[in-house]
C-alpha cells in the first residue's frame, strides 16, 4: 500500500468486512501514513540523503467478554489486516477486566478548526542546496566554528486517522519541515564547545533559515570563553526552552493515568492543591497557533482542546483519556494515545503569569546586574529526572551572569526537587516566547544547587 491509497472510508469498509468475517462486532483503529525526506551535509558535501514511505495501523477489538486486545502492523494488505485482527483477538484474552477502555463519548463530536494549510514540498535536491548554503554561512560566522557535526533539513507529508465500529471517522493531513544546525567550535588549547538552533515550519519554504544560522552561531560562540563554576546554591533563570523541558519531564504530575497507576506526584484528591507560586498559571493548549504539529483529535478521536492545568498556582485539571475520565467522572480531554492500556500525555504547554497577578519583581535576564545562572538547555532528562520522586540532577548549558557579563559554564549540573522549584519561582518575565516545545517566559528560581568543577 502506498501513501496515496490510505483512504479512511476504504479502510473502514475493509476492516468492517474482515471484522464481520472474524465475528468481531466492536473495534476501533488508528492509522498513519507518511512520506518524508531529509538531508545532512558535511563541509559542503552531501552526507546522507534519506527518504521513507511508511504506513502503520493499530487495531483494538473487544471480545465477547468485553475485554480489549490490540495489535499493530505495517502491513496494510488484507492479509496484514487479518493478521492484526487475529492478533488483537488473541491479546484480548489477556485484557484487564479492571480497566477496560471504551470508545470516547466525544469521538464523533465536532472538531476544532486548525489553520494549518498544507504546503508544497520541494524535494530532496533543493533541500540539499539550501542546507549546504546554510552550513557554509554558519561556518563563516566565526573562525572558531570548524564543523557543523549535527545538521539536517527535512520535510514530510503525513496522514493520520481514527475509525471505530460506531461510525467515527477522523482524518487529518499535514505537512511539516524542520531545520537543525549544531555547530562545534574550538579554540587552541581549550575544549571544544557545541551549541545550535532548531526551526520548524509547515513547509520548507517557510523555514527561518537566517534566524537559525544566526542563533546557532551566537549560541556556539557564546560558549567559547567557558570557565568552571563553583559548587553552591544559586539564583537561576531558565530560558523558556529549558523550563518547558523540565516541566515536560515531570508531566506525570498532570496525568490521570499516572495518578491511577500510583506513579504521579499527584493523587486523586490533588485538584485544588497548591502546586506553584500564585502568579504562575499553566495550560495545555494543543490548538495554539505556535504549535505547528497540532492535531485536531487524539488517539481515541477526542477533540483537542485548551485545558487549564494550574491556575494561580493551584492544580485545576488532569489530562485524561476516555478510561481515566470515566474513573474520575469527567470528560476526556483529548490527550490519549491508543492502546489496551491507554497512555495519557501533554500536548503543548503554555506557561504564563496568572491573570491579575504579579510576582512584584522586575527581574530581567538582559538587564539584571546581580549574579545569577542563566540555564539555556538541560541534558539527559531521561537519566537525571526521577519523575516518581520529584527529584532531578541534570547537566546543563548556560552562563554565570555577573554585572551583565556572561561567562559560559563548563560541565556542571543543576539539582533540585520539582515541587520545591515550583514554589521557589520568584518571577516570570513578561515576554512569552514560542519554542519548539511550547510557550513560556524566562523563569526565575531561587536556591538551586549547582555542581561545578571549580
Amino acid at each position: 500500500m502506498t501513501f496515496q491509497s490510505l483512504n479512511a472510508v476504504q479502510l473502514r469498509d475493509r476492516i468492517q468486512l474482515l471484522a464481520q468475517q472474524a465475528g468481531v462486532q466492536h473495534w476501533d483503529l488508528g492509522a498513519a501514513c507518511s512520506d518524508d525526506c531529509s538531508v545532512q551535509v558535511d563541509r559542503g558535501e552531501a552526507k546522507q540523503l534519506k527518504a521513507s514511505q511508511r504506513s502503520s495501523i493499530t487495531v483494538r477489538v473487544w471480545n465477547s467478554d468485553g475485554l480489549v486486545g490490540i495489535t499493530s502492523t505495517t502491513d496494510l494488505s488484507d492479509g496484514g489486516l487479518q493478521q492484526a485482527l487475529d492478533g488483537a483477538r488473541q491479546a484480548s484474552q489477556y485484557g484487564n477486566p479492571d480497566d477496560v477502555p471504551q470508545f470516547s463519548p466525544l469521538a464523533t463530536a465536532p472538531l476544532p478548526e486548525l489553520n494549518r494549510p498544507l504546503k508544497s514540498r520541494q524535494g530532496i535536491l533543493p533541500l540539499l542546496a539550501r542546507l549546504r548554503d546554510a552550513e557554509a554561512d554558519l561556518l563563516g560566522r566565526h573562525p572558531a566554528i570548524q564543523t557543523v557535526p549535527y545538521n539536517g533539513m527535512a520535510e514530510s507529508l503525513s496522514t493520520s486517522l481514527y475509525l471505530n465500529s460506531d461510525g467515527a471517522v477522523r482524518t487529518m493531513e499535514r505537512t511539516q519541515a524542520s531545520l537543525y544546525l549544531y555547530a562545534k567550535a574550538e579554540e587552541q588549547g581549550r575544549k571544544p564547545r557545541s551549541s545550535g538552533a532548531v526551526r520548524l515550519a509547515l513547509g520548507s519554504d517557510e523555514l527561518d533559515i537566517p534566524g537559525c544560522i544566526k542563533e546557532a552561531a551566537e549560541r556556539t560562540v557564546s560558549h567559547l570563553g567557558y570557565q568552571p563554576i563553583e559548587t553552591g546554591v544559586y539564583r537561576v533563570c531558565f530560558t523558556p526552552e529549558a523550563f518547558l523541558s523540565l516541566l515536560g519531564a515531570f508531566s506525570s504530575m498532570f496525568s490521570a493515568r499516572a495518578v491511577l497507576d500510583g506513579v504521579s506526584l499527584s493523587n486523586r484528591d490533588s485538584i485544588g492543591d497548591s502546586l506553584a507560586v500564585p502568579y504562575l498559571s499553566l495550560y495545555d493548549d494543543g490548538l495554539h497557533p505556535g504549535h505547528l504539529s497540532a492535531a485536531p483529535f487524539d488517539g481515541e478521536g477526542t477533540p483537542t482542546q485548551k485545558l487549564c492545568l494550574i491556575e494561580a498556582g493551584k492544580l485545576r485539571n488532569f489530562l485524561h483519556s476516555e478510561a481515566t475520565a470515566r474513573s474520575f467522572g469527567v470528560q476526556p480531554t483529548g490527550h490519549a494515545g491508543l492502546g489496551a492500556k491507554v497512555s495519557v500525555g501533554p500536548d503543548w504547554f503554555v506557561v504564563q503569569t496568572s491573570e491579575g497577578s504579579s510576582s512584584g519583581s522586575a527581574l530581567n535576564h538582559t538587564t539584571c546586574t546581580d549574579p545569577f545562572v542563566l540555564i539555556e538547555d538541560l541534558s539527559a532528562l531521561h537519566a537525571g529526572v526521577k519523575a516518581t520522586q520529584g527529584s532531578f540532577s541534570l547537566p546543563f548549558d548556560g552562563w554565570l551572569v555577573k554585572d551583565g557579563e556572561r561567562i559560559s559554564v563548563e560541565a556542571a549540573t543543576v539539582a533540585g526537587d520539582i515541587r520545591s522549584l515550583m514554589n521557589s519561582i520568584v518571577h516570570l518575565e513578561q515576554n512569552l516566547e514560542i519554542t519548539t516545545r511550547g510557550v513560556a517566559p524566562h523563569v526565575w528560581v531561587d536556591g538551586l544547587s549547582i555542581t561545578g568543577e571549580a
Partner: protein, 469 residues
C-alpha cells in the same frame, strides 16, 4: 515473492542490484526485514497490557563517490522496491536503467543462511499465557520480598526478526534474530520518602530464556535496592574518587568512550581519538573489548545488518587505542576496516557503526581492594541511564550509591550524577577488579535503538565530578 526470506528472492534482488549498478552506483545494498514483537506489562497482580506488533519493510542504500542515498519503505512488492531504488539513485543524480551492463555487479554469491537452524525459534518462545504467568510470578515475588511497595511492575518483550541482506558486491545473507528482555521495577513510598528501582535482564537467541529466568533472585535484588534507597539522603556534590560496580557500571565506558570509537564520530569530527590509534588514551590498567560473539549476550549477532560476521575487536589494549568500530560507510569514508558492526534498529534506518557487547576487561584486584583504597568517595552499585554530547562530555545517573569513608562502605545516598569528559576520565581509571560481568541494555544513536551489552569488573576512577545537592 514469498513471505519468508530465502533464495527465492535472488532473482528479484539481482534485478534491482543490476538496475542500480547500471545507473552508475558504486554500491547498492538492500536490507529486507520482517519482525514479530510482543510486549507484556504486569502491574501489581494483573496483566495490564499486551502489545503484539508485526512489521516488514526494506531499506535501500546507494553509494556514489563516498556519498549515499537511503530510502525505506513498507512496500516489498517488486514495484515498490524499484520505486524506492529509483528514488535513492535520483538523490545522487543517477538515473535508473534496465541496461544489462551492470557496473561491476557480477551477481549474488550463494545465500549464506545463518537462520536455517533457527526456523523453530518463534514457535518455541513462551506463549502469551506462559509469559503472563512468569511476569505475575515476578510481581508476586516483589510483594513477598519488598516493603512499602506502592507500585510493582514486571515487563517482558520478545523481538523476533528475520533479515535478508543483498548488495552489489555479491553479499547475500539471511539471519533470524531473537531478543528477549524481562524487567522488574518498584516504587517504594513511606511518608515523604520515595525510591524507584528497576532491573532489566536480556538475552539473544535463547527461546527458553524466560523459563530459566531466576524470578526470585531478580525480585530480591530489586527489593533490596529499593529498601536501601528509600530513606537515603541526597549526595553532597563535589569531586571525588568513585568505585563503579560491575555489570551495568559498564555504561560509563559505553557512554564516555565507546561512542567516541565509532567511525561515525570520526566522520562527524566529534571524537578526540580520531588520530590516536597506537597512542595511549586510557590508564594502562584498561583493556576494552567490543564483540558480537558471546553466546546468548544481548548484543551478539550471527551477522551484522550489512551481512558481515561479527568479530572480537580489541579497542584498547593496556591503555593504548587499537582500532575503531566500523561499518561499510565507515570503512569507505575513514579507512578503518569493517568490524561486523554495521547495525540498525530496523529497515527505516541506514546501518551505522554501533557497539555490540562492549566491556572493560577484568583486572588483577578484588572489589574490596578498590573500595579499601578510597578515603572519601562514592560507591556506585547500580547505574541509571546516561548520554554523551557532541564534544565528548558524558553524564549518567547513579541509581544506588553509597558513601565510602576510610576504605569502608557507608550510608546509602541518592541523586548523584557523574559528569565528565572521556579524554580526561579514561586515564583516571586506575584499578580494575577480577569480577567482569555483563548487563543487557538498549543503545540509541544515529541508526536507532539497538540491543547491546555493557560490562566491566569493579573499577576505580581516581576523581570525577559528582553532581548532587
Amino acid at each position: 515473492m514469498t513471505d519468508t526470506f530465502s533464495q527465492a528472492w535472488s532473482d528479484s534482488l539481482q534485478a534491482l542490484l543490476q538496475r542500480g549498478s547500471s545507473a552508475g552506483a558504486d554500491l547498492v545494498e538492500i536490507f529486507l526485514e520482517r519482525t514479530d514483537h510482543i510486549g507484556l506489562l504486569a502491574e501489581q497482580d494483573r496483566i495490564t497490557s499486551v502489545n503484539p506488533t508485526f512489521a516488514k519493510g526494506a531499506g535501500i542504500r546507494v553509494f556514489l563517490n563516498g556519498r549515499d542515498g537511503f530510502v525505506s519503505t513498507n512496500d516489498l512488492s517488486q514495484e515498490g522496491l524499484t520505486r524506492s531504488l529509483d528514488q535513492a539513485l535520483a538523490m545522487l543524480g543517477l538515473e535508473a536503467s534496465d541496461l544489462s551492463t551492470a557496473n561491476g555487479f557480477e551477481g549474488l554469491s550463494p545465500l549464506r543462511d545463518y537462520g536455517h537452524d533457527k526456523e523453530t525459534w518463534l514457535a518455541t518462545c513462551p506463549s502469551m499465557a506462559d509469559a503472563s504467568s512468569r511476569l505475575l510470578q515476578g510481581t508476586a515475588q516483589l510483594e513477598r520480598l519488598g516493603q512499602h511497595l506502592q507500585v510493582r511492575r514486571g515487563s517482558y518483550a520478545r523481538d523476533w526478526q528475520e533479515v535478508l541482506v543483498a548488495a552489489s558486491d555479491g553479499t547475500f545473507a539471511r539471519d533470524i534474530r531473537l531478543h528477549q528482555s524481562t524487567g522488574l521495577s518498584v516504587l517504594a513510598a513511606d511518608g515523604d520518602h520515595r525510591s524507584s528501582v528497576g532491573r532489566r535482564y536480556g538475552s539473544s537467541d535463547r527461546p527458553d530464556d524466560l523459563h530459566t529466568w531466576d524470578v526470585e533472585a531478580s525480585a530480591a535484588e530489586v527489593c533490596q535496592s529499593a529498601g536501601k534507597m528509600l530513606r537515603a539522603d541526597y549526595v553532597e556534590a563535589g569531586q571525588m574518587p568513585v568505585v563503579l560496580a560491575n555489570r551495568f557500571g559498564g555504561v560509563i565506558f559505553h557512554e564516555a568512550c565507546g561512542h567516541l570509537l565509532e567511525t561515525t564520530q570520526i566522520e562527524r569530527g566529534t571524537t578526540p581519538f580520531s588520530d590516536k590509534v597506537g597512542q595511549s588514551i586510557a590508564h594502562s590498567a584498561v583493556t576494552a573489548i567490543d564483540e558480537g560473539i558471546s553466546s546468548g549476550a544481548f548484543g551478539s549477532l550471527a551477522m551484522d545488518d550489512e551481512g558481515m560476521e561479527p568479530q572480537r575487536t580489541v579497542l584498547i589494549k593496556d591503555g593504548v587505542l587499537q582500532c575503531f568500530i566500523s561499518d561499510r560507510a565507515g570503512e569507505l569514508r575513514t579507512g578503518h576496516q569493517r568490524t561486523g558492526s554495521g547495525r540498525r534498529q530496523s529497515h527505516s534506518f541506514a546501518a551505522a557503526s554501533r557497539m555490540r557487547n562492549t566491556y572493560i576487561d577484568a583486572g588483577p584486584h578484588t572489589p574490596e581492594q578498590l573500595i579499601s583504597s578510597v578515603d572519601n568517595g562514592l560507591y556506585c552499585k547500580a547505574m541509571g541511564g546516561g548520554s554523551v554530547g557532541p564534544t565528548g562530555q558524558f553524564n549518567f545517573s547513579v541509581e544506588e550509591g553509597y558513601l565510602i569513608k576510610d576504605g569502608q562502605l557507608g550510608r546509602p545516598v541518592k541523586g548523584a550524577t557523574l559528569i565528565g569528559d572521556a579524554k580526561e576520565v579514561m586515564p583516571r581509571i586506575s584499578m580494575c577488579a577480577n569480577d567482569l560481568d555483563l548487563a543487557a541494555g538498549f543503545c540509541g544513536s544515529v541508526s536507532g535503538s539497538v540491543f547491546v551489552t555493557v560490562g566491566q569488573p569493579h573499577i576505580k576512577v581516581d576523581t570525577i565530578t559528582v553532581g548532587g545537592r
